[in-house]
Amino acid sequence: MSEIANYRSAPSPHRSDGASVRRIMLDVLIALLPCLVCGVAYFGLYALLLVFLCMAACFAGEQLYNLVRKKPFTFDLSALVTGMILGLNLPPRAPWYIPLIGGVFAIVVVKMFFGGLGKNFANPAAAARVFLLLAYGSVMASYIGAQPGDLLADGETGATWLSGGALAGSFLGVRGYWGEILQLFLGNIGGSIGETCKLAVFAGGVYLLARKVIDWRIPLVCCLTAAVFALFFYGSARDMLRHLLSGGLLFGSFFMATDYATSPKWKINRILYAFGIGALTMIIRRFGIYPEGMSLAILFMNLLVPVMDRFILPVRFGQTDKNGRPVPHVAAWTMRGLCIALAAVLAAATPAYAAAEYDEPQKVALPASYSFIRGMAADRDRVYYFTAEGEAYLDEYNYTQPLAFEIEIDTASGVVRDIRPITQSTMGYKAELSLFIGKTYEEVAALTDLSADSNLSATFTNTALKGMVEECFLAADFDKNRKFERGGEYIVDRAHSELFGGTAFLAAGSAYLSEYDYTQPLLYYIVVEGDTVSSIVPLMQSTMGYTAELSLFLGKTRAEIEGLTDLSADSDTSATHTNQALKEMVLECLAAGGEK
């Protein structure tokens, strides 16, 4: 045997579980990659530049500080992690100097001044975000929407949902509420670079959980608490889910609240800490002046961590009090109880709220600007609720009376279910609602005698209401089987029409009315059957007589319409322009084809 000589002695234990600081930091960087990729996909390469600048600023800031203080350089990747998290927290169009200032602030002021890795009292990224928000408020709050032509170009919203931005009526073919949720989940909305795409956040978070880098208690309790608070603050299960998927809540609870140095060391304290963050975030969102509260909440709870760490300690194994009695595990059971209570409340209250909301009509986005319809909602039985506005000329008074009605169309039976006046004449020139209630579209359209005992003003009111009801019928019909497909230049969307039994298009365009030097917006409901135009209903065109001559197109094929050369309308130029515009629209609809 050759002599053993090269062995070294070393302190125990002689094994470790293999975890290292560098590997942990690397894992966090890996986990942040999906967020970065989605951020760049949605917001463009400039977002990548911002994140890169931020990481560079953090790294350089740390090394410069080391240089000045004559300390050894640090290559533990933690500065890059801070830089990446802060970078992903920035608005996608922030000026280039923002990441530099933020990065240096995060590393030098928040981290290095307090002793470096592990010694900072506040999360560097959260502190820097709040600092930037205070110092560069307008820049930090200017979110842009996802760019047209990006991955999933359906919704176009500028502001974040939290700051009042609207969501699209449908997303990737999923309509209504679940479309919104899908949109929020996939992150095709305004927001910070890395936090809009919840799918990416989850992917990274699950990776960190699987690698045991973060404690599952923090994200879970954070979101659970935020959910319960949102449910009661907004009284709505739908808003609760919207809130969970909005802003930095998820990103923060996976990547920022879990920061080692600034979160409690004992698992039970982490529950309290995460509860605080979740609750504070919702309190700030609901009552605060900022639309988003995650960073502030994290920062605030960071300050409480040393107190928790010092005064809420694990009960030692076999610990006894002065009288020799075992010390009860008060903190542990309280926190476990809190978690169970939160989960129980959520499980019990959500279905109740959701059931109540399910019967309520849900807002439906208008596909285009209608002449009369201002708002539209539908319930689960596909009864549509409209608010429509119009006007009637009261001949007797030479006065234009504004009108507003609530109109309910039941698409299952195809009739007007109810009409409620909101605004109309108070002088007796009221609409005769019985003319319309219970009638089908054909019956309403066929109404010819709207005279009200030869009271001219009331007749005008009835006539105006008839137009509104017809528009409501068409809008409901269109929405019911809407396809959510954008067309070319004119087609807003297409739908299967139950009223006309063909493919309905909403086509919007405009015509220049030369007599008035005015550009008239146009909106037509065009039905195509096979390769012919079967119906055209004008929803918006001139009210002064320069209307399109529909008979030019009805029943015609594409070739026939293409062959139309004479669109002149009794040498009325404006009407001719209208006809020409309609021709283009009809041709586009025919090209788009009938039922698919």
Partner: protein, 438 residues
């Protein structure tokens, strides 16, 4: 399946030696028998240089107070009582005996009195100490005057690599169980529970079949430090030993597998305690084995016997979690030496401590519910009340905290130091307080 709170899951690495039947170890040319192989005071030599001794002859007598007899492991000539290095780095008294390889043996007189007192006296006479590592004189432990109802046998063997207790349980099943019964009588317990981790299911099954009345086997979830006394008691009986109290206060006495075997050998075969089964293992051991090893065998003899390899990066006496790193192969085995590990360079951790990142893993891992990270900070800042509040005095030095620390901090050493400082301060305060009373 029983277990305890927190702890860690190191890879077992037991396959290296678990299949190796127990064999005779090396027959050393010379043995250095330590006078202090146990907790307490060193034994007092009763032989002189030049005297011939037989294997099994008393060579040092228990000192007054806590101590234990020491017997010669070989037949040969006493060369003298001399200082020899030990694991701790300090020189301590050893009796050097040159082996004459005649293997002449001497036995204890047959024992007729199998009452509690008789057995206890024999255990003390045979110099038996706890063989799990702590080496507390067994007669004192079993002779407690507290009411004990359960004798707990530690068959957890939770340290990686070590398989000697496992081999004893499956190869010496009957003798071991007889030893367990003798220990029950010695401590007055009505029943015995043998705790075995579930990575040794075959041993558990074998024991369960052979155990007989009042002896039961408890299978435990494999986790470190299952074999730590208080953790084992909790895992097997759900009893918690209060801080500052002994297991006997909870009605339990814990003995190791090989302690029970040693008791059986002393009582029924009249063999005193001068050898034990040890595991020699590790990837740098060419021939991992479970061996009967005589006390006082130099580690070098074991290295030769088991073909320790040149690329060995570290040698550890005991398990990789709590075992001490060997700095010289001249050091010799004692009654409490359970294993010698030859670890190659990939098997052992080289710690380069960096700044604590505050991950809290050490807090989650500590089986005693301490906060190692804060104890270390308190130690560095010399804030003693804080160190005590975070529990430094309760540390069992299991090493779980260091094991999980990603910053590779020397946490167990820090906590041990804080504990020592606190104990010193307490002692000093007591002295001062005592003076005031006068």
């Amino acid at each position: 399946m029983g277990t305890f709170a927190n702890g860690v899951h190191p890879h077992g690495s037991k396959a290296l030696s678990a299949g190796c039947p127990i064999e005779r170890g090396p027959e050393p040319k010379a043995v250095y028998v330590p006078l202090l192989q146990h907790i307490g005071r060193p034994a007092v030599p009763v032989v002189q240089a030049g005297e011939r001794v037989l294997c099994g002859q008393l060579i040092a007598e228990a000192a007054e107070g806590l101590s234990a007899n020491v017997y010669s492991p070989v037949s040969g000539t006493v060369k003298g009582v001399l200082g020899h290095i030990t694991l701790s780095g300090k020189k301590r008294e050893h009796i050097l005996i040159e082996n004459d390889f005649t293997e002449e043996e001497m036995f204890l007189p047959p024992l007729a009195d199998r009452s509690r007192e008789g057995i206890l006296a024999r255990i003390a006479e045979a110099g038996i100490v706890g063989m799990g590592g702590a080496a507390f004189p067994t007669a004192v432990k079993l002779g407690t005057d507290k009411k004990v109802d359960i004798l707990l046998v530690n068959g957890a063997e939770c340290e990686p690599y070590i398989t000697c207790d496992y081999r004893v349980m499956i190869e010496y099943t009957q003798a071991f169980l007889a030893g367990v019964r003798l220990c029950m009588t010695a401590c007055g317990a009505e029943r015995a529970v043998i705790g075995v981790e579930d990575n040794k299911k075959d041993a558990a099954a074998l024991l369960a079949r052979a155990a007989g009345e009042n002896v039961s086997v408890r299978v435990l979830k494999t986790k470190y430090p299952q074999g730590a006394e208080k953790q084992l008691i909790y895992a097997c009986t759900k009893r918690t030993v209060p801080e500052g109290k002994l297991p006997a206060d909870a009605g339990v006495v814990v003995v190791n597998v090989q302690t029970a075997l040693a008791v059986q050998r002393a009582v029924e075969e009249n063999i005193p305690c001068y050898e034990r089964v040890m595991t020699v293992s590790g990837k740098a051991a060419g021939r991992p084995a479970n061996l009967w090893v005589k006390t006082g065998t130099p580690y070098r003899d074991l290295a030769v016997f088991c073909e320790g390899k040149e690329d060995c990066g570290r040698i550890v006496s005991g398990g990789p979690m709590m075992g001490e790193s060997v700095f010289s192969l001249k050091i010799c085995t004692g009654k409490g030496t359970s294993s010698l590990l030859f670890l190659d360079k990939d098997e052992c951790e080289n710690r380069n401590a960096s700044a604590c990142i505050g991950c809290g893993r050490c807090v989650q891992a500590c089986p005693m519910g301490l906060s190692p990270v804060f104890i270390e900070q308190a130690l560095l800042g010399e804030r003693w009340e804080e160190a005590e509040a975070y529990g430094a005095l309760q540390c069992i030095a299991c090493g779980c905290c260091s094991y999980v620390c990603p910053a590779s901090r020397f946490l167990v050493q820090s906590v041990k130091l804080a504990k020592k400082k606190l104990q010193e301060r307490r002692a000093a305060a007591n002295v001062r307080g005592g003076k005031k009373d006068v």
